[in-house]
Each structure stands twice: as C-alpha cells, then as structure tokens.
C-alpha cells in the first residue's frame, strides 16, 4: 500500500469513530506511525486535540494512556514512585536475612515500583497511545524529563537502571499555548496547528457525532457558532461547544433555531456570563436574522 492510500485509509478509518480528519493531520499521523516521532498539537480549546488521541487508540486497537499535566506535576506523579509501605513491610519480613545486598536487591525490584503513566506507556506489552495533555501547564523543569522519553523512549531509574521501551508508544502532545514550549521539546515533535474548521467541515463533524441531528439545524448551529467566533468573546466556542449546543437543541426537540430557542439555550455554547450578556443585548437579533 502506498503512502497516499494509507493516508486516505486513515481519513476513512477516523470517520468511523466520528472524527473528521483533515488530509494534513492524516499525513502527520501517518508520519507519527512510520517515523515514530511524537506529534505536538496546538490550538484553541475545544478544537478536538484530545479527541485525536482517543481515535488513534481506537484505530490501532490499543489502550490510551493519558497524562494530564498541571502546574507542579513531578516525577512521582508522572513517571514512577517507590511503594514505600511495601518496601518497609518486606524489610520486616526479611529481618532474619543476613545478606544486606539481597535485601536491597529485593526491595528495589520492579514489583516495588508504582508505575505512573509515562513508565506504564513504555513497559506495556503492546504499543499504546500516550497522550500528554496540556503540556504547557506543566513546569518547564518537567519538560526536561519528557525529553529523554520522547527522543529515546527510555526512562532512567537510578536504583534499577534504564528501562527501554518494549514497544514504542504513539505519542500525542497537546498544548493550549498558554506559554511557549522549549525548543528542545519542539524539535523532537511533528508540529500541527489545529484550527477551527470551516463551515462545511464543521457541519460534517456535527452530523457525524450526532446522527439524529437534522442537517438544516446543523447548518444553523454552525452558522451562528462561526459568527460567535468572529466576535472576539472572552471564551470563543470550540467544536465541543457546537456539539453540546446541537445536543441541547435535540434534547429540547427544536427543529429549527429561532431567536427564542437561541436565547434559552445560549448557555450551552457560551460559558461566560459576560459573553452571554453581550450577545443577548447586542447581537441576538442580528444572529436570528442571519439564520433566516
């Protein structure tokens, strides 16, 4: 199978899982698989960065291991930690053992390690998808730990030695651009900027994720959401919000979007009181006209 066919197959495959994959992202996922390089996805919140990893796991029929980054994330929570209680109990059990080296060999074995997501992903018996979510939230020092894993797929544990991956995981990193990532990290990744989709694609996404949705209603929802994105609101609605909104309208049995329904369900798409107020007072009539 040529590269062209494989990329086309990826697009078709992802569609099955309800994800409309662009040709460009498909090319990058193809490279992710072939070159074994991590993919760095950047973009505004709610454009489907995390969903890529989920679909990729389904595509490879494997597990998704997710590491959610946050400020203060450290090695103990991300890579490994010794199971101290178990170690102490074992020392107690081996009280009569005279060979001290035997004791330390015993208690620093792999079964005394609590594996955290990163170690889990490289010791897994089959290749998994590793999602390192919102990496920009972690401290800069943490990025340094990531470098070893992302370039060599190995982790050094002082007491045990270096753990090398049995199977290299498919790594997806996501970032919301709250800060610039280090050059060293960026150089190890294939970069892709995930933008808001165009009208046609977003309608397609809505229809894919909500099969019960009427196409006309989907068009109306997307029209309004795209208009809202142009308004420079505090929290621009992402694709997740359009899907939420469409789902809300389905639950309300609305067949079409009019001014009243829009006013009542605006909370599903805008998540800030100021934005809702602004849209309700200044733009609602215009948006209603736009749909008609």
């Amino acid at each position: 199978m040529t590269a062209k066919d494989e990329i086309a197959a990826l697009v078709v495959e992802f569609e099955k899982y309800g994800y409309v994959l662009s040709e460009e992202l498909a090319t990058i996922l193809f490279l992710n698989q072939k070159l074994e390089k991590p993919v760095l996805l950047e973009g505004n919140p709610g454009v489907g960065k995390t969903a890529v990893a989920k679909c990729l796991a389904s595509h490879h029929q494997t597990d998704l291991i997710r590491l959610q980054c946050y400020e203060g994330l450290d090695v103990n929570a991300a890579i490994y930690e010794w199971n101290y209680q178990k170690q102490l109990l074992n020392i107690k059990i081996m009280e009569n053992e005279t060979d001290r080296h035997a004791v330390s060999r015993e208690i620093f074995g792999m079964e005394f390690l609590l594996q955290r997501p990163l170690l889990q992903s490289i010791t897994s018996p089959k290749p998994v998808v590793l999602l390192i979510d919102e990496v920009d939230r972690a401290d800069e020092e943490f990025e340094a730990f990531l470098l070893e894993i992302l370039s060599d797929f190995q982790i050094s544990i002082p007491e045990v030695g270096t753990v090398v991956a049995h199977h290299k995981p498919f790594v997806i990193l996501t970032s919301n651009r709250t800060r610039e990532l280090s050059d060293a990290l960026k150089r190890r990744c294939l970069y892709h900027w995930v933008d808001y989709p165009d009208f046609k694609k977003e309608v397609q996404i809505l229809l894919k994720s909500l099969p019960d949705l009427d196409e006309n209603l989907a068009r109306q929802v997307v029209l309004v959401v795209q208009e809202l994105r142009d308004m420079k609101l505090n929290k621009s609605p992402g694709i997740a919000e359009s899907i939420d909104w469409a789902r809300t309208l389905l639950a309300l049995d609305s067949l079409t979007l009019d001014k009243l329904t829009m006013e009542n369900s605006l909370g599903a798409v805008l998540k800030s009181q100021d934005d809702i107020r602004k849209v309700k007072t200044d733009h609602l009539t215009r948006l209603a006209d736009l749909i008609n």
């Binding site: 590269a3 062209k4 040709e23 490279l31 209680q85 109990l89 150089r187 505090n234 100021d274």
Partner: protein, 386 residues
C-alpha cells in the same frame, strides 16, 4: 553535513534528496529553526512515498519545519519561493530574516531609540543616554517604563516575563526549603499504622502552616501614571500564586474596584477590559478622596493584620491634603505593611515635597520608585519576607 544526511538515505532519487537538503538550508537561512536532525527526518519521510502528491509533501515539510503558530506564515512564504524560484525571494526581501533572536533585535532597536525618539523632546533623549549598562538588554531593564518605545514593547514584555518567571521560580525554591518537614506527629503516625498491624509505614510530620499574605493594590491611573500602573498590575499578577488574594483598585477622580476583572479572565484580557472600562483612566487625580472612599467601603473587607497595601501614585493631589493624611493614616492602622511606589522618585533630584506626598510619607513603611523593570524586581525582597 549535506553528504552525511544524503548518504543515509540510499533509495531516494539523488535529485530529490538534493532538493530537500537545499530546501532545509534555504529555510534555515530565512529564519526557521531547522537543523540536520530535521533534514534527516524529512528525507526519511520522503522515502515513505510522500513525494507522490505535492500536498502531502508540503504537509510533511510543514510539520517538520514549524514549531509554533508563528512559524506557519514564514514557512508558507519560504515554501512558495523555494519551489518557484529562489532568486526572486532574495530580491524581493530587502531585509532577510536571519538567525537573530528577539533579544538581539531588541538591542538593534535600542540603538535606534536615541534617534527615533528625537521628536519626543530632549529630556527623554537625555534619560536614554544617561542610562548605564553594558548592553541593550541591560539598558532596557533600566529604562523608565514610560519611555519604552512602541517598537520595543514586545521585547520588553518578553524580557519582563522572563525575569519575573525567574524571580517566581526563586521564590518557589525559597519557600520549599523554608518549610521542610518538621517534627514527627506521633499521634497521627500511630493512628495511620493501625491498619498495618502497628508498623509505622507512613510517618506523618508536623509542618508549619503556610500563611499567605493578602495584597491590596491602589493604582493611580491618571495621566502619566497609567503605564506604571499597567506594568505593576502585570507584575503582581505573575506572582499571584504567592498571595492568598490579590485585590486591585484603580483611582484618579473616583475609586474603582477592578479585582473581578483579574479573576474572570486571563491577565491580558483583564488589562484590556480595565483600560476600556475605567472611566477615569488618564484624567486628574484626587488621591485623598479616593483613598477615603477605599477606607470607608472596602478596607474592612480587604485589609487584615497580615495584608500588604501597595499604593502607586505620583502624589500630585488636587484635593484637600488633610483628607489624604487621614485616609492614609486609616489604611496604615488596618494593615501590616504599606508600600508607596512613586515613579517620580526615580528622577534625579526628586524630593517628596508636594503637599500630598509630604503629608502621607510619615505613615508609609516603604517609599520606593518602581519606575523601571529593575526597580520592580527589587520589590521581591519586600514581597517574600513580609
């Protein structure tokens, strides 16, 4: 370098390999940060059959060449010119971007600063020349916040962010060593050991409870003060993790509580909203009345014996000095520390002799300038040890 990269890819046609290596050299010369590693990655990728379709080939190059959103337009241009004709690109671009960093760019712009600001009066030129410092960045740190030229602002912001982050990191480290685990809490340790048959597997330590300070800022936004207020607000917000709560008020002719804006959105947006909504931004000052207003309506809720109050103002009061004196006395009584930042203090020969300032001074614990990046950084000592 080129031959090494090529020799490791035997099955790709020679001319394609050459074209790709030349493309990466071209991209490197024109501002993208790509090296040998990237070239090899691209050659390997091209070998997979990605040259069959031009769009796939372009996507492949793009994801390898770019590292941030800002790289994308640069890549587009380079891609276009490389495959349509290298010569034109060089001709059409008089100022070709090379490998300069923003810091170097900043230095370049600072050299221009003396000349570009001629129109803004001699006094400013004097100030720019008087600044001591080995290089441009050092100069930028000592430049009065009001004199930062528009072209320097992005570099200044970048520098400020970098220095503030370093400072924040320093403070973080300091707190860690300051709060090392204390004595063992036997009570809790024994309780926790019960399920383990009395084996104290987990030692519980007593730790000193960390008391975070509350910080209240009163920012003068009249006339010339707004820029200083803007940077101080930004500065304090970088340090928000170290304070229990940040309260901010702006004043000129009337007092305004702006804390809600700091909480709801990211800082940049908050600043935009504040500057568009504070009606009195950049107008005359009635410090006394505004501080009295603060005392009457907000002091009770926001001040405590562990709070720090920072007033940023030039002290040029148009109101009654008695009102100011009473107001500042009232604030001092309710707070632990009162810091007055006056950017004018940074000016040579400045004496706090204006009516308002001289009446307020006896109640102020710390009187500082905070007119440059460096003087803002000096505040670290006060903020971390109070």
């Amino acid at each position: 370098m080129t031959t090494d990269a090529v020799s490791s890819q035997p099955s790709l046609a020679q001319n394609s390999r050459d074209a790709i290596t030349r493309f990466f050299r071209f991209a490197r010369q024109h501002g993208l940060s790509v090296g040998l590693g990237e070239t090899e990655m691209a050659l390997e990728a091209a070998q997979l059959g990605l040259m069959a379709r031009p769009d796939h080939f372009k996507y492949m190059l793009r994801c390898i060449c770019c590292g941030t959103q800002a790289d994308l337009p640069v890549f587009e241009e380079i891609y276009y010119y490389f495959w349509t004709g290298e010569q034109e690109y060089k001709k059409s671009k008089v100022t070709v971007r090379d490998d300069r960093t923003p810091a170097e760019d900043a230095r370049a712009s600072l050299i221009l600063m003396g000349t570009s600001q001629k129109g803004r009066g001699n006094e400013e030129n004097q100030e720019a020349k008087n600044m001591s410092g080995a290089n441009g960045l050092e100069k930028l740190r000592k430049t009065d916040l009001c004199l930062i030229a528009a072209i320097d602002e992005p570099y200044f912001d970048e520098l400020a962010q970098k220095l503030w982050r370093q400072m924040s990191y320093r403070m973080k480290r300091r707190m860690k060593t300051g709060n090392r685990g204390g004595a063992i809490d036997f009570n809790k340790t024994i309780r926790k050991s019960i399920p383990k048959g009395g084996w104290p597997g987990e030692l519980v330590q007593k730790q000193r409870k960390k008391v975070k300070k509350r910080i209240v800022m009163l920012l003068d936004v009249s006339g010339s003060m707004d820029k200083y207020s803007f940077y101080l607000l930004k500065f304090i917000c970088v340090l928000r993790a170290y304070f229990e709560k940040i309260e901010a008020f702006t004043f000129s002719t009337e007092l305004r509580h702006v804390t809600p804006y700091l909480e709801a959105y990211e800082l940049q947006k908050a600043l935009q909203i504040i500057s568009s909504e504070v009606k009195s931004w950049s107008s005359g000052t009635r410090i006394g009345d505004c501080l009295a207003d603060f005392n009457a309506n907000y002091a009770k809720d926001t001040l405590s014996r562990s709070s720090i109050v920072i007033v940023l103002s030039d002290g040029l009061d148009t109101g009654d000095p008695d009102v100011l004196e009473n107001a500042i006395k009232g604030i001092k009584l309710k707070t632990k520390q009162l810091i007055w930042l006056n950017p004018l203090k940074g000016m040579e020969g400045y004496q706090p002799i204006q009516r308002g300032m001289s009446r307020a001074l006896p109640f102020v614990d710390e009187f500082r300038s905070a007119h440059t990046l460096d003087s803002l950084l000096e505040l670290e000592n006060f903020l971390s040890y109070v």
